[in-house]
Symmetry: D2
């Protein structure tokens, strides 16, 4: 940590800062410049103590700022663990040379809808089935998901098709129910800083997919992942799903550079959700290819057998045909960057070329 004192800092002020640093176990070193005095804190101290100290120092009127040198997370960092982590789901490795595709409807609506979706995405080469039983919705007037009934349908369809399931947990009290069905527990963007939930999934031993919050910095996203790891659960998958910016043409702004950054700063695998990331079905394929090209470890895509009659997110869902097209177009791009799919997409479909404007 570096503490910057304003112009004209007195000896007494400098002494006060040094004493505070040393009181918690730092060594201190003082540089008196012409315009500023800078005091360096050398050593490693408890993070909780450090955070408190920074706030306290900044409350002193003569302290201009207290600047962190080390990043505020540890277990999820590349410095802590240099090799990339892989999260295993049903024998498949997320974060490996294989690119893992999770696909399915936004919400579980009915047995028939889910089964059609599952069979379709499986045929096209998906590795997991996504589908929400509990749905976080901005408006209280909107469909909120089938709840536990949805979980039962997910379990049935998973058994029938052999596809493992990823589904969202919104309430820690539902954890046990979700654990029975899900191969991966999803934490949604709106809950990225729901610490009750993060602590709950930190206690279990099951993969967790953590979506980046709408306005979360990459650093905060990694800190949220740290909450889970600290509990003892290191099977965390990060998911970039678009951030909120001033742009309104897209539902969110998909930040693919965050994939590159997260993979550099952390050893955890990173996947991309191009459906929420753009909010428009006709942008999903090109953004998925871009995600594959820049080094993402997989995709989470909304696919619906009949988007025009979906109960939610129809506007951003691919049809089964489009999804098959996505999988076929992904393959050469993955190959170009030295990666591959677990299942080669079937060639029986002859999809129309991607939506040209």
């Amino acid at each position: 940590m570096i503490v910057v004192l304003g112009k004209g800092a007195t000896d007494e002020q400098i002494r006060e800062v040094c004493q505070r640093l040393e009181a918690v176990g730092y060594q201190s070193a003082v540089w008196r410049g012409v315009q500023r005095t800078v005091i360096g804190a050398i050593g490693i101290i408890d993070e909780q103590v450090k955070d408190r100290l920074i706030e306290q120092l900044e409350s002193l009127p003569f302290v201009e700022s207290a600047i962190r040198i080390l990043r505020p997370y540890k277990l999820v960092s590349r410095e802590w663990k240099e090799d990339s982590s892989e999260v295993t789901v049903n024998g498949k490795q997320i974060g490996s040379e294989y690119f893992v595709v999770m696909a399915g409807p936004c919400a579980v609506e009915s047995r028939e809808q889910l089964l059609r979706a599952a069979r379709g995405v499986k045929a096209a080469g998906a590795d997991l089935l996504r589908g929400g039983a509990f749905k976080p919705r901005t408006s209280p007037h909107t469909f909120q998901g089938l709840g536990k009934e949805g979980l039962i349908l997910l379990k049935e369809v998973s058994e029938e098709t052999g596809l493992p399931v990823i589904t969202e947990l919104m309430d820690a009290r539902d954890l046990e129910d979700v654990m029975e069905v899900a191969a991966i527990i999803q934490i949604g963007a709106r809950n990225m800083q729901n610490y009750t939930l993060l602590r709950a999934v930190g206690q279990v031993r099951k993969p967790v997919l953590l979506k980046r919050g709408l306005s979360a910095t990459i650093e905060e996203w990694l800190q949220a992942a740290e909450y889970i790891c600290i509990g003892g659960n290191d099977q965390v998958i990060l998911c970039e799903r678009g951030i909120r910016t001033f742009e309104t043409y897209t539902r969110n702004t998909l930040d693919l550079s965050a994939v590159v950054a997260a993979k550099k700063l952390s050893h955890l695998p990173v996947v991309v959700d191009p459906s929420h990331g753009t909010g428009k079905w006709d942008m999903v394929i090109p953004m998925s290819l871009a995600a594959a090209a820049c080094g993402a470890d997989g995709l989470l895509v909304e696919v619906h057998p009949d988007p025009a009659n979906a109960v939610s997110d129809g506007a951003q869902s691919l049809t089964l045909e489009r999804f098959a097209e996505l999988m076929q177009r992904l393959q050469p791009v993955l190959q170009a960057v030295g990666r591959k799919l677990y299942q080669s997409p079937e060639k029986t479909l002859s999809p129309a070329p991607v939506a040209e404007p």
Copy 2:
């Protein structure tokens, strides 16, 4: 709702849209323009059906957009209830001609700290004591609050000083415990879209202060309030606490125009948190005065008897002396806009002039 069809919409496409509108109870009216065809949906239908329909229509390739005309909330709107609502706490009306001030430390640290803070803010004219027992913290390495022990201290100090308490609820499972202590339940910015929590506090009959999320639009904030009201709890107070923007000098960007907007769109009272809104103690007084001038109904301010030794948020906390100064400077500004404090601030303190640059 208005549905816009792209150039060259066919009769069949127009018919499909009309049928979909009529199927849910709308009347439809078609305008064929030169460049676009616009189809209006007239009537009032269930919000859940409408939301789904919008998504479905937008999934049709020939539909350019489906535009809402009515705002997506009802119970919290001025149209639903024209008169401003007042929320009564201990005989004081929030949302009335009185300007209500809630002050105290970020976190409950100890009996002594809380008691000193409570006595100080009471003497200076505060109406409620704020203090966090459960703390949402970005980093898992940081102090997370005293939890239930903190609630007990709040209760004791409240009884000793006669100040009612506002404190944050983070986990629906703690609702009963919080209810025993709090006169107002606070929902934090990070939980503004934690629907589990919103539904829980919608079930009780106690005032709820709902902070605006870091990246929540005013519309989403009102929708979150609607979640609470729909449960039957209409004692909701909105709290603007700064939004996330590109500016880094301040911790957040305090959006005072949101106070004006929220009071125009909704009948609910609106208060301002200038401490989180700026993150800097020396900006709290001027921004508090501005909040009073533009029509806010009150303040939520962080005050600590010794910020330089606070366990959290020291950098944005006022000392007791500064808080007394704030109260004295608030009074004439409130008077200038036709409002007043419940308790005139004591004049015994002679605070230093506010930090001039």
Copy 3:
């Protein structure tokens, strides 16, 4: 400056950084921590050399970051000049205990429109007349201003009413023409980083009002002001006019905390434009009062004798009656914070109460 080297920095790498620092005139000091090595640069060197050096150091793979300690502007800073600067226009001091109000139409439309506006705002107590001859418009299909004809009208109306004029300069080639008419030259938000223009107005000896760019940080805004001061023109007035955020209810998000910050960091006067800041006429009065309360030195307000027939910005313009009401409501708020208007507003008008929701 502080240079942070990654974990495991070698002696040679440390030496390279030290040599680079010393080559430009710094002394260097090395702290080897457990996780990072930090190298401090002590001394004052030319800003141009420093900027280049930071970029160069960050291009070295073993350098994690190079952190500035001093702010990247000088002449406009409070450190350079502790006392607040006042800019004198027609014998009135902007930045003094007087609060200066500049009002008038967005665009000059006709002699009659301008004259009615000028007489109205003068009667209500305005100090300057605003009005655009050159208009920056997002769309090329929109009215672009009357140009030089507009300047002539401004001159005539200024002479007739005795109100000095503030008007926008968009093209350095029009500088001489604008100088003949304007008492204050306005640089618009879109041109805040048009360095050609900044340099041009730095060469003249006339007050310049510099609007904050839509996405400019406070630091960048002050750097833009520095461009003008470096040319030798220190009569710069800063103007906060709203920044671009994710919120769409308002046209921009008026950042009043930037007023407080700019006045702390800089000695320059700061005024507020609540018209562009909100984009809605019914938010202009409350936000003006807030600006006065938090310490702004004046206002720049759009007023039109007939907004419903204005050629531009009708939606955010006050009528003359509303403007008179604003002036009357400003007075007690200014008094509450120890300031005053040059001209007391006339009491002859009995305006309707401000739009309550």
Copy 4:
């Protein structure tokens, strides 16, 4: 256009709106709903008249909003011209099946630096040489470019290497000088709404590359392009270079979805600047591959023979070796999406693998 009137609109108010619509040539159609009255404007009128009308209508207290149905640009839209446009530079087509790469230093520093850069990027397969003679810099204390001397060096090096040049124009008064050197005139992000400059380059007959402004929506970017086209110059290339968001890890947030959107909405070619888009050299290669995968028509990349001694933007510049690596890694990705480079990159260099974290 659609005009929405508040609840309880009177017949007189409806009549006023209809009369205003009809006065400018629209037909009007009224829908009275239960909660709102909606008035549709049918027909095509002059854009300038329409813009003014929208503002005027919104100034009426009983009008809730006036909503555009058509996009506010025409010449640059896909509706105006369905086929993708190609811009020809030295016999190469930007916007064709070929992917065009423009590379070189941020700023022209010296003949030797420029020549080394030009030879290096040419050998690696670049199609154009980029290099700034006039530099827009945030700080007035920073290197501002060599100016006309830089133009001369660009001309010499262009002739020597045969690479056509792209360079930035900052001041309309330099247009002639820049035209003599540049095959493409660059308009920088900070000048995207410098209408003086846009009009100037609209008058010439030379390709213009228009960077997206830091906080410009896609719609505003296309409107800026429209300014150029309206002047008669339709050789416009759009360039996405990152937008300003809350994220601070990257210099800007590169918005690749804007490439997909711009290509859908407009017929103009779109290229990507991954150097400014990320601000970090080690993110340039993965983001370039992503740009190629999602359908961009080319790249504008900063390359410096010696970034550690560059006078500007060293931190985001590729070395010649890294650039050669980029070109080699681009080729298979382009092939995977059905595109190609004009020049196959030489295989003589054996670059190190891209920086793995």
